[in-house]
C-alpha cells in the first residue's frame, strides 16, 4: 500500500513544480508594467486633470518658478552653505556635466560628439544673469537644451544654481580669497599643470 500511494504522490508533487506561474506573474499593476486593458497599453494611469500632488500646491510661487512679479529672482531662496553646494556639485555632475563639462566651459563628452556646443558659463553675459534665470533654464530648457524639470526636483535645481555660481566665481577668484590655511595646498597643486586653470 505504501509503495502505491508513494507512486501516486510523487508524480503529483512533481506536477506542483510547474504550478507557480500564478504567483510568479501576478495580475497586479507594477511601475512601467504593460497592460492590455487600457488603450495606451500602460499600467500607470495619467493623473486626472486638476489633481494637485503633495508639495506641488505652491508651484506658482517664486521658489517654484524662479520669478517674482515678472522679474527673475536675484537671490537663491535657500540657505547657501557647503551642504547645499556639495549637493549641487553632485547633481551638476550627474545632469549637466555630460554636455557642459565638469567646469562648465561647454566641452562635456556629449558636446564633443556633436550636440550643439552649449554656452560657456564663464562669459560676462552668463556671469551677470540672475539665479532665477539659470533656475528657469533648468526647469524649462533653453533653445537646443531640453528641460530638466522632470528629472530634477525643485530643491536640487536651486542647489545646482548655487554650484554654477560657485563655478563662475572660482574662475575669477584670487589667491587672497582662499582661506589662509589652504593656500599653500593650492599653489602646490598648481605648479605641475600650467595653463590648466586661468
Amino acid at each position: 500500500m505504501r509503495i502505491s500511494s508513494l507512486a501516486i504522490a510523487v508524480p503529483l508533487l512533481l506536477l506542483t513544480v510547474s504550478c507557480r506561474q500564478d504567483m510568479q506573474d501576478q495580475p497586479k499593476y507594477k511601475p512601467l508594467g504593460a497592460n492590455r486593458f487600457f488603450a495606451d497599453g500602460r499600467d500607470a494611469r495619467p493623473i486626472p486633470a486638476g489633481t494637485i500632488a503633495r508639495d506641488e500646491l505652491n508651484d506658482t510661487d517664486s521658489f517654484h518658478t524662479g520669478e517674482a512679479n515678472g522679474t527673475f529672482l536675484d537671490t537663491i531662496p535657500l540657505k547657501v552653505d557647503s551642504k547645499l553646494l556639495h549637493r549641487g556639485q553632485e547633481r551638476f555632475d550627474i545632469y549637466c556635466s555630460p554636455c557642459h563639462g565638469r567646469t562648465g566651459d561647454g566641452n562635456g563628452m556629449v558636446a564633443q560628439r556633436g550636440v550643439k556646443i552649449p554656452a560657456d558659463f564663464h562669459t560676462d553675459r552668463l556671469r551677470e544673469v540672475p539665479p532665477g534665470y539659470i533656475y528657469k533654464v533648468i526647469k524649462n530648457g533653453y533653445g537646443a537644451m531640453g528641460d530638466y524639470g522632470d528629472q530634477i526636483p525643485v530643491n536640487d535645481r536651486w542647489a545646482i544654481v548655487a554650484y554654477v555660481r560657485a563655478l563662475q566665481l572660482s574662475r575669477d577668484a584670487t589667491l587672497d580669497e582662499v582661506p589662509p590655511d589652504q593656500r599653500s595646498q593650492l599653489s602646490e597643486e598648481r605648479q605641475p599643470q600650467p595653463g590648466a586653470a586661468r
Binding site: L32, V110, G146
Partner: protein
C-alpha cells in the same frame, strides 16, 4: 526442497531498494539544479531590445551617471527606466536621422511607450527595494555586474533566494563606501572583511533574514 532465491538475493533486494531511493533523490536534485541553473534563470544572456541601447557607449564611453537615466533609484524601490524624453535630450540632435533610433523618435511623436524587454525579473512574490540598498553602501556592480561593459544589457547575478541571503547574512563582504555606490570600477580593498565590518557599524546595517523582509 531447493530454495527459489540464493542467499545473495537478500542483499540484491536491499541494494535495489537503496538504489531506487538514490535514483529518486537524484532526479529531484537534478530538477532542482536545472531550475536554478544560470540557463533557466537566463543569467549572462544579452536580451534583444526594440532599440539596441548600449550601456557600453553611454556609460563606459560617455561617462553618463546612472542617475541621469535611472532617476528614482535613490528614492524609490523601483529604478526607473528612462522616459523617451530623456533620450531625446541628446538624440533630438545627435544621430537624429539614424534608423536605429526610429522607435525612439516614433515614441516621442506618438506618445506610445517603447516596450523594453525586462532583464532582471524577480518573481512577483518577492519584494525588492533599490533605495535601501543604495543608501547602505551596496553598489550597482555588486548586483548588476559591469554594466559599462554591456553592449546589450544582461542579468549578471543569479537572483536566487540563496544569493540574496548570502549577502543579507554577511553584508560585510560586499558593502562599500557610500560615495562609491555608483562607481563602475570600484575594487574592494584587500582587507575587505575588516573594512566591511567597520562600514556595517557605521551605516547601521542589520542582517535581515526573516522571511517577511522579502515575502510580504
Amino acid at each position: 526442497m531447493s530454495q527459489y532465491f540464493s542467499r545473495g538475493a537478500n542483499s540484491i533486494a536491499r541494494i535495489t531498494i537503496f538504489a531506487l531511493v538514490v535514483a529518486l533523490c537524484s532526479v529531484l536534485w537534478l530538477g532542482y539544479l536545472i531550475v536554478r541553473s544560470p540557463y533557466e534563470m537566463m543569467q549572462n544572456e544579452p536580451r534583444e531590445q526594440p532599440v539596441p541601447f548600449s550601456h557600453e557607449h553611454h556609460v563606459g564611453g560617455l561617462g553618463i551617471d546612472c542617475r541621469y537615466c535611472h532617476t528614482t533609484v535613490e528614492d524609490s524601490s523601483f529604478a526607473n527606466i528612462p522616459a523617451t524624453k530623456i533620450c531625446m535630450n541628446c538624440h533630438s540632435q545627435m544621430w537624429a536621422t539614424s534608423p536605429m533610433l526610429e522607435p525612439v523618435r516614433e515614441s516621442y511623436r506618438t506618445g506610445k511607450s517603447i516596450e523594453w524587454t525586462r532583464v532582471n525579473d524577480l518573481p512577483e512574490f518577492v519584494y525588492f527595494d533599490h533605495s535601501i540598498h543604495v543608501h547602505h553602501g551596496i553598489g550597482c556592480t555588486t548586483c548588476h555586474g559591469r554594466v559599462d561593459k554591456m553592449p546589450l544589457t544582461w542579468q549578471a547575478a543569479p537572483l536566487t533566494m540563496e544569493w540574496c541571503l548570502n549577502c543579507h547574512r554577511h553584508p560585510e563582504r560586499y558593502v562599500r563606501p557610500l560615495d562609491q555606490v555608483f562607481s563602475m570600477d570600484y575594487a574592494p580593498p584587500p582587507d575587505q572583511i575588516a573594512f566591511g565590518k567597520r562600514l556595517v557599524r557605521e551605516y547601521h546595517i542589520q542582517s535581515l533574514t526573516s522571511c517577511s523582509t522579502c515575502h510580504r
